[in-house]
């Protein structure tokens, strides 16, 4: 998971990711690491303050194709959606 450290995700989050997810989910995430990094950076750039939470608890969504996710985001009023996500990470399901 060194690729996560390289983009500023801290050790505590990384160990919680490993603790809270099935081995096959973690493996799939690493398999899709390039895609995952793009999503992480996109979310952070757009003001999502709960990326750590999303990684720990919804690791599987980082395997969804980045372009599809970005296009879905672009259809929303980003400010409102991101505010909702920052309150309750379930709001990411709006995408």
């Amino acid at each position: 998971m060194d690729f996560l450290k390289d983009i500023g995700i801290d050790e505590m989050t990384i160990s919680k990711i490993i603790e809270n997810n099935l081995p096959n989910v973690i493996r799939q995430f690493i398999n899709d690491r390039e895609n995952a990094v793009k999503i992480i950076l996109y979310l952070e750039d757009n003001g999502v303050k709960v990326v750590d939470d999303l990684l720990i608890r919804r690791l599987e969504i980082f395997s969804i194709d980045y372009i599809r996710l970005k296009n879905a985001f672009d259809k929303f009023n980003k400010d409102v959606l991101i505010a909702l996500i920052n309150e309750d990470i379930s709001a990411i399901n709006f995408l």
Partner: protein, 587 residues
């Protein structure tokens, strides 16, 4: 250096000496026999002075068929001669006696002459000596491998010298041979596997059009340390045969070369083709190509080689049987394809039991339902949302992913929801009233939790809703730790997470039947004990498990099942007890 060698050499020398003694004795005996023959030839009456048993030995050594008959004849002659001497009898020897005697002498002479050249007894002893000498020579060689005939000889040596020091030597020898054996085995195993080094890896990579130099250092180390060259070769060949594209990702490539096999690749690729998945798409879920290993370890190497080939094939079948599109899952939540099949089947069953539907979102990219299938605590979290707030089930239905994102039924969030409900005035649009807010999604109201409840927003992270902290959540909310008689016993049974099911027979259990009157008229998923909402599936599941493990029907076990994991005040708890005792008393 072998410490026992010198001692063993001495023992072998001792045996050789003994054999030498025997050879000398035999040679002496042979000389004696020649003397005896000469005397017997000169004078038949010398027969009188030869003991019968010696006579027997002499005749037994002849190479003739009729040894017994000859012995009897010569013995008769000896008796006649003895009687004539001792008793002055005049018994005569007939011609046949004389002929027998002549025959005896001829054979005796024959034997003596033969022994003079090469006594087979001495040859035997000679050969034994040679064996011991050879054994000694071999055991003193470092690389010699002990054979079974050596063991036979050694057994003889140790039998003849059965004392403590010999036993010590024997033990040392056995340990030494055992260590040599282990060393030989590991060498031959490595040899059979062919040593994996940069050179031969480079060769195998290039043979299959892969560039070994592109592989990062740590992956090369993994291959050298844990790889099997033959397996790697077979895997490359199989990938080519099935027209897999060149695998660019080092992590994926290395994991396949270490964790897969020709058989698994064949099986999974063929299975995928039958289910309309092309090889390229399998590389995106490469865990499916690795040998199934039910891994639960989470170190780097274990994660990399987590193999789900069998789970993958079973999951495809399970999803099809449940009418779920494989392509939909592949696009939206790939991890489901490689998750443990047992968990997938269980969660699909729970999804059904709790009345949640796996509806595909018409549009959109992130679907909460597949995430729910990855939950390891589905039932417990569902139960808690049901019990904690009248709108808890609504919130959960709108956000099924919470079944995965929340993993602890005793999480602080639930205490926050509980407390905020206590103060709820019923105005959902008031941001300060209650734990939920309504968000309109395509004119469909969707419930979301407020930041103050989830404490996700950075400004809330260092504050606590209504003073509810992890250490004081019970006191802050005025909820209790429930103590029931035999609770520890029940806890032990329930903590074994295997087979938490609901058998049909539990519906007819008299104690369960007795509380049927409390099933909510509008929602069969809940009991309503005088206003206290309890998840019915939870009660059935917990009580079923207790009964299956031999716990007799009782008020205690029923109340345990009802209040399991529930966040309750004293008043709510007493309401439950009163309702239950009323029914049990009546029965």
């Amino acid at each position: 250096m072998k410490t026992f060698t010198e001692k063993l050499n001495k023992l072998i020398d001792k045996e050789i000496e003994l054999l030498e003694e025997q050879k000398k004795n035999t040679a002496e005996t042979n000389k004696e026999l020649i003397k005896i023959y000469d005397e017997l030839k000169k004078d038949m009456s010398s027969l009188i002075y030869i003991k019968s048993e010696d006579l027997k030995k002499i005749i037994n050594s002849f190479k003739i068929e009729d040894k017994d008959r000859l012995y009897k004849e010569i013995l008769t002659i000896k008796k006649i001669l003895t009687m004539n001497k001792d008793y002055k009898s005049t018994l005569r020897l007939f011609k046949k006696d004389k002929d027998s005697y002549k025959y005896f002498l001829d054979k005796f002479d024959e034997n003596n002459k033969a022994n003079a050249n090469s006594d087979p007894n001495i040859i035997k002893l000679d050969n034994k000596q040679i064996e011991y000498l050879k054994l000694k020579e071999n055991l003193n060689k470092e690389t010699y491998i002990i054979k079974s005939k050596d063991i036979t000889l050694l057994e003889k040596i140790f039998k003849n010298n059965a004392d403590d020091s010999s036993i010590e030597i024997l033990v040392e020898l056995m340990n030494y041979e055992n260590d040599k054996y282990k060393e030989r085995m590991s060498k031959s195993k490595k040899k059979a596997c062919l040593e994996v080094n940069d050179e031969n890896l480079k060769e195998v990579f290039e043979k299959h059009k892969y560039d070994y130099s592109k592989l990062e250092g740590k992956y090369k180390e993994y291959l050298k340390e844990k790889g099997n060259l033959k397996n790697i070769e077979d895997i490359f060949t199989t990938l080519e045969n099935h027209e897999y594209p060149i695998i660019e990702d080092n992590y994926v490539l290395t994991s396949i070369l270490l964790g897969s096999s020709m058989t698994t690749l064949e099986k999974v690729t063929n299975f995928a083709r039958e289910n309309k998945l092309i090889p390229k798409s399998l590389l995106d879920i490469s865990g499916a190509l690795l040998n199934q290993n039910n891994n639960v370890n989470k170190d780097d190497y274990s994660i990399m080689t987590t193999g789900s080939s069998i789970d993958f094939m079973r999951n495809i079948t399970t999803l099809r049987e449940n009418g779920i599109s494989i392509n939909y899952i592949y696009q939206g939540c790939k991890s489901i394809l490689t998750m443990p099949n047992g968990l997938l089947v269980k969660n699909l069953d729970l999804l059904n039991k709790y009345g949640f539907s796996f509806e595909y979102k018409r549009k959109g990219v992130i679907d909460p339902s597949p995430s729910a299938l990855l939950s390891e605590h589905f039932a417990e979290i569902a139960d808690q949302f049901i019990e904690i707030h009248p709108d808890g089930l609504k919130y959960l239905t709108d956000n099924l992913s919470n079944l995965k994102t929340v993993s602890n039924p005793d999480a602080l969030m639930f205490y926050n929801i509980y407390e905020s409900y206590k103060n709820y005035k019923g105005n959902l649009n008031d941001p300060l009233d209650g734990p939920f807010r309504k968000v309109m999604e395509d004119s469909h109201p969707n419930y979301q939790l407020k930041a103050i409840i989830t404490r996700n927003k950075p400004e809330y992270r260092n504050t606590y809703y209504m003073g509810i902290t992890e250490e004081h959540k019970k006191e802050a909310t005025n909820t209790i730790d429930i103590n029931i008689h035999n609770k520890d016993k029940f806890d032990k049974i329930i903590s074994n997470r295997k087979d938490i099911e609901i058998n049909n027979s539990i519906f007819n259990n008299p104690y369960i039947v007795s509380i049927n009157k409390y099933i909510d008229g509008d929602n069969a998923l809940i009991y309503n004990f005088d206003g206290v909402i309890i998840s019915r599936l939870k009660v059935l599941r917990i009580y079923n498990k207790l009964v299956k493990n031999g716990i007799k029907d009782s008020t205690d076990s029923l109340i345990y099942a009802i209040t399991y994991n529930s966040i309750l005040s004293q008043i709510s708890y007493e309401k439950i007890i009163n309702c239950v005792k009323k029914e049990i008393k009546v029965r």
